[in-house]
Each structure stands twice: as C-alpha cells, then as structure tokens.
C-alpha cells in the first residue's frame, strides 16, 4: 500500500545543509494503523511531508499502491502539527470542515451529514458557527481532525494531532481514531511523541532514531484489537511493549545500539498510566529532561533521562 524506500531529505538553505532524515525504509499494508515515534527534531514531520507528496525527497522514493507519489494523492488527508495555522480564519468551523467536501463536489445534503457527523465525533457539535480563533488550542486541533475524517480518506496522516488536548479528550480522541479506522479500514500513519499513546493506538510502532535519522525499530503491537483505556493500559503486555519502545528511544538518543541500562522492566509502568489516560507518562521528548519525572514509574529511567 504505502512504500517508503531509502528516503532521504536534506534541507539546503543559506549555504547550509541540514540532513533531516538519512535513510528510511518501511512499508504499510492496506488498512494498517502505524504509529511513528522519535525524538523531537528527528524528522517526523519531514517524513510525513514527503509521504503526503508536499515535499520532494532528496533521494529514495515514496509509492502509494505501487505508484510513485509526486504530489498530494487524492483521498489522502493530513492533520498538520501546526493545527492552528492549518485552519482558515475567515471561515467558520463548519466552513473549514466543509471546504474539502465542496472541492470533492459532494451534494449538499451529504456534505451536511458528513460535517455534522465529524463535528459530533470530536465533540464540537455546538461550535460549528464559531471561527477558529474563538476556540481554544485543543478545540482547534479537533476541528482539524474533524476536517480530516469528514473527508473520508483512504490514507490518513496525522502529525502529533493530540498535542494540545487534555488527557480526557485525548483518550476520547484516541478511541475515536481507532473506531474510525476499524469502521472505514483506512490506512493510518500517526506521529506522536507519547509512547503510551503509540502503543495504545497502533498495530505497529515505528521508532525513529535521533539524527542521522534511520528506522531504529519496528515494534509490532500484539495487543487485542478491541482496546480499552482502562484494561488495555493496565495489561502486563502493554507495559512490556511500552518499556520496550521506551528503551529503543533511549538507545536511539544515545547513538543507537547497545543496552541502555535504564532497566525499565515493564511491570512498574502498568498502574500509573492506566487511570490517568496516559497523558504525559512515557513521553519520548520528556525523556530529554523536561517533565521527565511525572510518574513513579519513571524512576528507573532517570539515569538515561538527565543530561
């Protein structure tokens, strides 16, 4: 379905070359839900822009259904990291969600149905007539998500879409995405820096290394398909996977390879993250110092988390 092969991207500007990603190769099957985690600045957004055809890779290729991606493919939706700037301030919330559907030439009743459904699903059924700038950051982010799901895409790319929402809403949106994914059998590539979220959401977690960026690990998440915020997050297997991904990220930050020696055994993380919806605990970026110690389960990792 989606093939990323030897992808490399170097930004060149003002005589300076920045290698954002060095060599990425992975493949998503039709209808797969994969999460992408990696330290801040490792090139996740860059990868997403190449996959969506918004940017040309320096080397390597991206192909969708065997056809090389040279521009944004039809029926692909993207939720940008800069969610606030991706909304049209002169359109209402409804207008924003409806705009791509107009371009799709859907008849009006159908558009209304999709817009209402999407806004309802993200809990913004009441906010349709407001403008984006009248909403909080988290609400704006949900408008961007509503626009993507109303579009009924076959491929959905999301770049840290839940970064600005509170823990409770975040848990709801995670379940919403999983629900939609199951219902419409979309292929989803979901970028996050929250390890718990990656494990909870994905069938697979692709871990990127720090720059020079390569695929550090590709973890398949063998949790049951029916997931639940409470039981899934407190399952021993969840904790194991979470610890595994965490260790990989630590490895990646320390230059890859070798045991990290952080000793996160997996059993410790289970209780702490179950009840609070996982907001914050196990944060890939948190591991480099800001807010790293926000749970008792983080104690064993402290050695790797301080610089």
């Amino acid at each position: 379905m989606l093939d990323v092969d030897g992808l490399r991207k170097t930004y060149s500007g003002r005589g300076r070359e920045v290698e954002a990603v060095r060599d990425l190769t992975f493949r998503l099957g039709e209808g797969e839900l994969a999460c992408l985690v990696g330290p801040s600045g490792c090139g996740k957004t860059t990868l997403l822009k190449c996959v969506s055809g918004l940017m040309r890779p320096t080397a390597g290729s991206v192909a969708l259904d065997g056809r090389p991606v040279t521009g944004p493919p039809p029926d692909m939706a993207v939720v940008f990291q800069e969610y606030g700037r991706s909304l049209f301030p002169w359109l209402t919330v409804r207008g924003n969600v409806e705009l791509p559907l107009k371009e799709k030439r859907l008849p009006k009743p159908r558009r209304r149905e999709l817009v209402d459904g999407a806004l309802e699903a993200v809990g913004l059924g009441h906010a349709g007539s407001q403008h984006p700038w009248e909403l909080s950051g988290g609400m704006q982010q949900r408008v961007a998500i509503a626009r993507a799901i109303a579009y009924e895409p076959r491929v959905l790319l999301m770049d840290e879409p839940f970064a600005a929402v509170d823990a409770q809403t975040r848990a709801d949106l995670e379940d919403l995405i999983r629900g939609l994914w199951q219902r419409f059998s979309m292929t989803v590539l979901f970028v996050t820096h929250d390890i718990d979220e990656a494990v909870y959401l994905g069938q697979r977690v692709i871990v990127l290394s720090a720059s020079p960026t390569v695929v550090q690990d590709d973890v398949s998440v063998d949790l049951p398909d029916e997931r639940d915020q409470l039981t899934t997050r407190s399952a021993p297997r969840f904790a194991e996977l979470r610890a595994h991904v965490y260790r990989e990220i630590q490895n990646a930050k320390n230059g890859g390879g070798g045991p990290s020696g952080t000793g996160a055994t997996g059993t410790g993380g289970a209780e702490g993250s179950g009840a609070d919806g996982g907001g914050g605990a196990g944060d890939a970026e948190g591991a480099d110092g800001e807010g790293g110690a926000d749970g008792p389960d983080r104690a064993p990792t402290a050695t790797g988390g301080r610089r």
């Binding site: 993207v78 049209f88 705009l99 799709k104 700038w133």
Partner: protein, 274 residues
Amino acid sequence: MSANETANTTATVSATARRGAAAAARMLGLPALLIALWWWAAVSSGSFFLTDPGTIAATFTEVWVSERFLTDVLPSVGLLLTGYALAAVLGIGVGVPLGMSTRLRAAAEPVLEFLRAVPPPVLVPLLMLLVGLDASMRTAVIVSGCVWPVLLNTVEGVRAVDPVLADTCRVYGIRGRRRLGVLVLRSASPQIMAGLRQALSIAIILMVISEMFASSSGLGYAVVQFQRSFAIPEMWSGIVLLGLLGVVLSAVFARAERHALAWHRGLRAASRGD
C-alpha cells in the same frame, strides 16, 4: 447577590452612556473649536480672502443645491469612482499573479519600483498630450496614480500566504478559482484593503488636479473658476464640499472594510489575548 448584580448592570449602563457622551464630545469638540477659531479669525482680520463659516454655509446651499449638483458634482464623483474601480481591478488583477510567481516578480520589480516613484500629478501634462482633454484622460490620471498602492500591497499580501494553509489546500485538492477565492484573496485581503484605502485619498487628489488642469466641468474646475473670478465664498464652499466628499467616501470604505475584515480583527484580538 441579585441586587448586587442589578447595581452592577446599572453601573455598567451608565458607564457606557458616559463613555458614549465623552466620545461624542471628543469627536465634535475639536471641529467646533476650529470653526470658532476660524470664525474669530475671519471677523477680526476682515480679510477679503478669509470668509467666515456662516457665509460659507449660506453660499454652500446656494451654490451646490442647484443644477450644479448635476453638472459638476455628479460627473466628478462618477469620474472618481470609475478611476478608482479600474485601478482596484487592475491593481489586484496584476498583483495576484505577481505575488504568486517569484519569477514574474523578479522580472517586474525594477519597473514597478520606478513607476511607483513617479509622482502621479506629473503625469497630467503627459497624459494630456497622449489621451487628450476628455474624460478618459482624467480617468487615466486617476488610475495611474491609484493603481500602485493597490498593486504593491496585493503583491505583498499574496506573497505572505501562510505556507501551512497553502499545504492544506494542496492536500485537499483545492485549486484554481476556489483556491484563489478561499485562500489567496482572503489571506491577502488585509493588505489589499490597506492599499485600497491609500488609493482612495490619492483618487480624490487626482480627480481635483486633473479637473483643474484639463476640464470644463467638475468640482476641481468649479473651484478654480470661482478663484479666478474672485468669488471667494463660492470657492470656499467648493473646498468644503471636497472635504465632505472625502469624509463620506472614507466612511463608506471603513464600513466595507469592517465587514470584509471582521475575521482579521477577531484573529488579532484573539492573539493579543483580549
């Protein structure tokens, strides 16, 4: 609790009323003062050329509420609006492609800079030769002066389209006419409006100048005629009429702008945090 609230509401209402009165006083206070000063200066100097406001007011109705309104005022306003509208269409129409294409911009930049630097009234004698003495020449003068602020502001506005919004349009396949309407023109509209506002005052100036130089009717012509025949109160009334015309046009413009840029004010207020 509720008594307290009522008291609060009353307090708010009276505060609003007081603020309104204060604003009105501020708005009318200075004009009133200036008129009084003028009156005093006119009476005390006794100069032939300085007419007192009372006489001007009387002359004003006498001169302009007559067939002159049809022969001088309406054609002038028509000229002004035609030239302004043409300049707006031309400025936006050329500004959008220039703003969107780096290559076009690079090619056109030096020429634009030069043409912009030429003061428009200088064009009057030239255009008199080229286009002749008729209304189309006067329109051309107005267009040639007004088009620059519109054009240059449009270019800037279109260049500054947010790249994330542009990417959003690409992802959702929004292109062509819809992209122009929903993305390009709307995001450039604050700058375009600023350009149109500058163009409006230039249009009034050029209308008067072109009529003074080269016309046998119109407001500018009338003012010059009065001056030459030493009809000083009449001349003053023409000047006042031009001033009023400017005020009315700019009020109409402000209204249109408020409507078109409501989102922009909201956005700015939201990002300032009030």
